[in-house]
Structure formats: structure tokens, C-alpha cells
Amino acid sequence: MISALLGLSMVQYQVKLSVLELPKPEAETVSIHAYLWRDKNFVKEEQSWRLICAITGVNSLTYNASEVGYFGGTAGIRPRVVSSPDFLRVEVVSSPEKWKESLALAASLVAQPNWRSNQWEEAEKVLAGTVLDSWSESLWPMPEFTEKLLEDEAPNAHSRIIDRSGLRLIVEGPVEIGEAREEMEKVSRLWSVPEYRSLSRFAEESKLPMKQNLAVTTFEMSGKAIRVGEAGSAAQFLATVALGVGKGSTLWETLREREGLAYRTEAVFWPTRNGFVPRLFMLRRAEEGEIQYAETMVKSLEQGVEAYDMISLARAKVMAEQILLYPNSFAAVYVDAENTLFGLPDDDLRWRGLLNGMGLPSVPLARWVEMLNEVDEKAFQAAAKELVDSASFRVTQGVPGL
């Protein structure tokens, strides 16, 4: 009876797996991306999520830190960990001979953090002392680490998230369809999600702050998430480019060059579980009575959109292709909180992996560029107007004179 009770309290869950295989026989390496997506961004888990992102990649229940380091030494590249408010990703590039071991390692680092020996307390201290620059803070504000996390808080959040969302793997290279899935099913057969406390159904979701302890005030307009490949998405993408990407954009030409209101104006495509959110920014020195500039920003964009024509569309198409496929000073498509598409070898995989996690067909970048080129002037103008008219506006006030 006692053992039965004990058995009941020790119930553990199988790690759910999703594997996307993208065979590329001509490739010389196998690229593996392992994702953990959050189901929702709960206030209660914000600190834990930052900590989970910070410790992922150190070790796991299957691989200790030396083994992870040894892997880096033999494969030439250590696993790379990147994160965002909605997901974290471990990237591994492997030789074809070792790809199955690499897959197991990447998956294990995401699914099985070893909280006993990953030095999370040290990582928490570093996080607590981290001060972000105004741009990083605008994109993904750092939660306050005023209170230390309880010992089981982050492990609990990790277990809850992986149980809800599972582990998502993307494999590209000289592999056969079905091989990665088969390998993962074998490897993870004995993996389990430790028991965890559920969150209350009234748990509050995170909201962006209204104030920031910086000398900068952030004015932000954001639109509905662009669901790449779905109807209207290509026009929405181009409208965002026209509004804010590059020095020929409306934001730059009006707010910076004409009005001299700001040094930094920018539009980005921000990856979330719902799609790429278009975010238009103006960052300026915090001052009294600055709220008036919110109206200036909206009016400038409204006026700019009125004047959009074939030339605006042509510039947007060329610029979009550049920021999607090549290194560009105005790179704007974020593939995590810190990095953008930049014409890098695995960018297409990052893009397709994100689309897969967003529940969208994994349209290759080159195909997406073709779809953008099919957008006509009317659809482009309508999308730009719709974006400006329906955007939500947020002002995060800084501290004047700081």
C-alpha cells in the first residue's frame, strides 16, 4: 500500500517529441536545433525563464559539463544557446559521422537540465547584476531579481513548460527522413519530466513595463503577429519594411531626418509563438512632456502611408530580400532576442525552425522572398494602413536627466 502511494507520488511524464527532418544530401555537416517553447509567459515564471535560458547548455542529466566541453573540442563547435521571451534554442553543428550523438546531446541539454550541478545560483547572481542597454531592454526587458528564486522554482517551471510544450527538434543535412525521429525515440525512451506543481488557472500573464530605469524613453507601435505563408502575410511584411526598416523608411525619414526627434528609429520582426510581430520603435532621451511625441509618431506614419506608391513597394521588396538573405546593416528579422537573419549558413534553418514552432508551414527563406515579390501595390498600401491604424501603442518612460 505504502509503495503504491509512493509510486503514485513519483508519477513522471514522458517527454513529448516533435521532429522536423529536412534532408539535404549535399550538405557537409548536419545542423541540429533543439527548441523549448513556452506555452504562455506567466509573471510567476519570468525570473525562472531567464535562469533556464542562462543555464541551458552547461550540462544535463545525461552529459556532464566536461562531456559537453569535450563534444565542443571534438566537433569543433560548442553547442550554442540562444533565447527569447517565448523560446530557447540549442544549436549544434555536427559532422555526418557523429550526428546521432549530437542530436542526443542537443536534445538532452534542453530536456534534462541537471539542477544539482549546473551552478544555477551563480547564474542567478550574474543575471541579477545584468544591466541591459536601452535597445535590449526595449526588446526584452530584464525582470527584477529582487528576490532570490527558491531552490525548486526554476526546475519546476522547466518541468511544467517541457511537459506542456514538449521538445521540438529540427535536423538538416545528409540524413534520411525518419532517422532522426527513430534515434530520438530510442534515446529519450527513459527520459521523463519530473513531477511539478501546476500554476493556478488565474496565473497572470506578463505585461511589458511602463517605466524603465534608463535615460531613454521607448515609443513602440506593434502590429498583429505576421503568420508567414498565410493570406495577407507577405503584404504585412513589406508594409513593416516600408514603415521602419532602413534609412529610406518612413520612420527614419520623418522622425529622424525631418524632425530631428530621435537618433534611433527602427522596425523589427520579433519572433513569438504566434508569428513574427512587427514592432516599430522610436527611442529618445527621456524628458518631461514627452508623451506628445507618441502622437507625432502616429501622425508621421499615417502621412507616410498615404504617400506609398510603386516606388515605396519596390524599395520594400529589395530591402526585404536583403534583410532576409544577406548581411545587412539594417538586419531586422530576429531569430532570437539578440540575433537577426544575417545571411549566415544556418539562417534558413533558424527561420524554418521558428515557423515550425509557430505552427506554420516551414516556408524556406528563398520561397518567402518569391512570395513577397508577388505582392501588388494595392495589397501593400492596404496592409500598411491596417498596420498603422490597428497598432497598439506603448510608451515605456525613462528617467529624465538620469
Binding site: V131, K247, G248, G260, L261, R264, R285, V318, N328, S329
Partner: protein, 381 residues
């Protein structure tokens, strides 16, 4: 004969390259990266062309803003409509312009250099608006900026001023001042162009040469950076935090990478640090900035015995730093253009092996700099 002596062709890492020094003192290097489909054109105008910012701190910074717009203010629009983009920056070493984009537009990218060499013709209203923008730019100056400025000013003789500038003084600049200064900044003797991408090196080099030969003629007199001893030096600035600064002799020296690697390792192990370095082959400070005045207390504990674990981590960070430098963005273009001007004999590929080959002794010595040997800059706020 002179041309033959000054130009040479090399083949390295599959990149065919041409380097030249022109009779007017300008330098160029063109590297082919076959099938990359990309092109990068970097113009570096040495700060030696306009020593001491011609008496008004921030002149080069203001010129950078205007030059990047082009003589008709449409340069960006023209470039972007062709898929190209232009980035401009001002550093202590010089003023930089980088154009990047698809290689099929390489001719346009190179030809845009002509616009950058044109003298700046602006009205007083434009100057006023641009200074408003630079004022806004000031808010993005990093927390460590004042500490870095102090290091440049106090570790060299004569001290090297901030490149951001003095807004009040800049407001006094007249259109004629900017015209004259822009011509001085673009003097041929201090110009370097670096082109890399899917281009024909011979044809591209000829085109760059023709453009550089049209630059205002003039020598660029190199200002030697005489450095002062950092040990025991103490300064304070009106800002939050604290910092330590040490002079690096240039990226091509192992101790530079040892100091960067050890500082980056400290930054990743202890909370509240930032590492700052303007990559260069000339002398310049490496700054380790701490967000509070007590941050540095945490690094006292590392001893020689810790080198067994610390040194490999510092070495790894030096390697990662070098890998970051090689990422093909504007910063890479600027660094390569500087290399042509400052250390043409140095092979960038050596950086990796230098980082990987750092000895425990070098790393220990670098760590000791951060623990005490470097200049101490305290923040008063």
C-alpha cells in the same frame, strides 16, 4: 616599376586579392570571395587627416553624419533601392563608411565612394537639425563612455579626446568650416578602401584606384600615440560604476588577446562587468567596466592556482572574440580597412592561432592587470 612594387597578388583561403598603395598615399585592397553573391566596400578615413578634430571636438562625428547622406542627401535611398546599405561610424582611429549588399550591385557600391569623397555643402538649418540628432544620440552612449573617454585622455600624451563631441562647440560650426574640414578628412594620404566579395579583383581595383586618385591630394601625418604608465594611475569621472583600463599595443599582439580573453572570462563568471575595446592595430585602451564601485572586489580571489581552470576559459573567450571579429558585418569591413592602413603585413588568419596559443603565463599576467595593474577609474555620482 613603382606600380609593380606597390601591388601584389596573393591567394589565400580561396580569396584572390589585390593590394595597392597609390602614388597619392591612398591604399586599397580587393578580395574576391567567389560565389558569395555579396559585396562589402569599406572606406576608412584616418583621424590623422583631421588632427584634434580641427579644434572643435565632434567635427569628424558631425561630418560623418553629413557625408553619409551624400551630396544630394539621396545616397541612402539610392543604395537601398538597389539592395545596398550604408553604415557610418566615427572612432578614435578614423571615420568609417561601409556599403554592403548583393555582388551584382558591386559597381554601384564602389561608385558610391565618389559621393563620400565630395566636400560637404550644408546650410545652417541642416547643421542645427543634425546637432539635434547627435544630441539624441548622446542618450545611447554606453554607461562606460565616460570611463572610456577618461582612459583615452589620461593614458596618452597628448590625451585623445572623445569623438562624440562637444555640442556647444559644434553649434558654432559654420557651413564653410564643414566644407574645409570635410576636404581635409578625405585627403588621399589617409584614405583606405577595402572591398571583399564576389567581384573581379583586377577590374574592381582599377575602379577604386580611379576614385581614390580623385580624392583631395594631401599627406596624412601619423600622430604617434605616446602612452603613459597605467600602474598606479587613478582618475575619477562623473558617472556610475568603476573601471580599469590598460593600453593594448594592437590586435596583432598576444597580450591584447590575453587581456580581452581574461576580461571576457571575468565578465561571464562575475556579475556586473563589461569589456570594451575599439579593435585596432594601433595603441588603444581595453576597458573593463563594472556597474558598481564594488564590482572589482569579486575578482581579487583569483590566484595563480586558479589558472588551471581559468586559463582555458580565458583562451576560449579570446577565440570566441576573434570569431566575432570575423563575422562579415560592417565592423569586419572597418577592421580590414584599418589593417590595410595600420598593419598591412599582418595576416588576420593568425589571430585564431594567437588566441588558441595564449599561454597560462600571459593569461595570468593579463588577469593581474585587471586585479590591480591597470589604471583605476572611479565613478562619482
Amino acid at each position: 616599376m613603382i606600380a609593380t612594387l606597390c601591388s601584389f597578388l596573393v591567394l589565400s583561403q580561396g580569396a584572390e586579392a589585390i593590394s595597392k598603395e597609390l602614388p597619392n598615399g591612398a591604399k586599397l585592397r580587393v578580395e574576391r570571395v567567389a560565389d558569395s553573391k555579396k559585396v562589402m566596400v569599406a572606406l576608412f578615413a584616418s583621424a590623422d587627416n583631421l588632427p584634434g578634430d580641427a579644434g572643435t571636438p565632434g567635427t569628424r562625428h558631425l561630418l560623418e553624419h553629413f557625408i553619409a547622406k551624400g551630396p544630394d542627401r539621396l545616397l541612402d535611398m539610392k543604395l537601398e533601392s538597389a539592395g545596398l546599405s550604408l553604415t557610418a561610424t566615427t572612432e578614435r582611429d578614423g571615420t568609417n563608411f561601409v556599403i554592403m549588399g548583393p555582388s551584382e550591385k558591386a559597381v554601384m557600391a564602389v561608385e558610391s565612394l565618389r559621393d563620400l569623397l565630395e566636400p560637404v555643402e550644408v546650410g545652417e538649418g541642416e547643421i542645427a537639425t543634425e546637432i539635434k540628432i547627435i544630441d539624441q544620440e548622446g542618450v545611447f552612449r554606453d554607461r562606460f563612455s565616460r570611463f572610456l573617454d577618461s582612459a583615452w585622455l589620461n593614458l596618452f600624451d597628448p590625451g585623445i579626446e572623445s569623438v562624440y563631441g562637444n555640442l556647444e562647440a559644434m553649434r558654432q560650426l559654420k557651413p564653410a568650416d564643414l566644407r574645409t574640414s570635410s576636404q581635409a578628412l578625405m585627403k588621399s594620404g589617409g584614405l583606405t578602401v577595402f572591398v571583399r566579395g564576389d567581384v573581379d579583383p583586377g577590374v574592381t581595383a582599377m575602379r577604386v584606384e580611379e576614385i581614390l586618385m580623385s580624392a583631395p591630394k594631401g599627406e596624412s601625418v601619423r600622430t604617434e600615440r605616446n602612452f603613459l604608465e597605467s600602474i598606479g594611475k587613478k582618475e575619477s569621472v562623473k558617472a556610475k560604476g568603476s573601471a580599469r583600463a590598460v593600453i593594448a599595443a594592437g590586435l596583432d599582439r598576444p597580450m591584447t588577446l590575453a587581456r580581452i580573453g581574461s576580461a571576457l572570462a571575468l565578465m561571464k563568471m562575475e556579475p556586473g562587468f563589461q569589456v570594451v575595446y575599439e579593435a585596432s592595430f594601433d595603441r588603444g585602451p581595453i576597458l573593463l567596466y563594472g556597474t558598481s564601485d564594488t564590482t572589482f572586489a569579486s575578482i581579487k580571489k583569483y590566484t595563480r592556482e586558479d589558472m588551471r581552470r581559468f586559463a582555458p576559459f580565458a583562451r576560449l573567450n579570446a577565440i570566441l572574440y576573434v570569431s566575432g571579429l570575423e563575422r562579415e558585418g560592417p565592423a569586419y569591413g572597418i577592421l580590414r580597412a584599418k589593417l590595410v592602413r595600420q598593419a598591412p603585413a599582418f595576416d588576420m588568419n593568425q589571430l585564431h592561432s594567437t588566441a588558441a596559443g595564449l599561454t597560462d603565463d600571459e593569461i595570468w599576467s593579463a588577469l593581474q592587470d585587471w586585479q590591480g595593474g591597470a589604471m583605476h577609474i572611479g565613478g562619482i555620482q
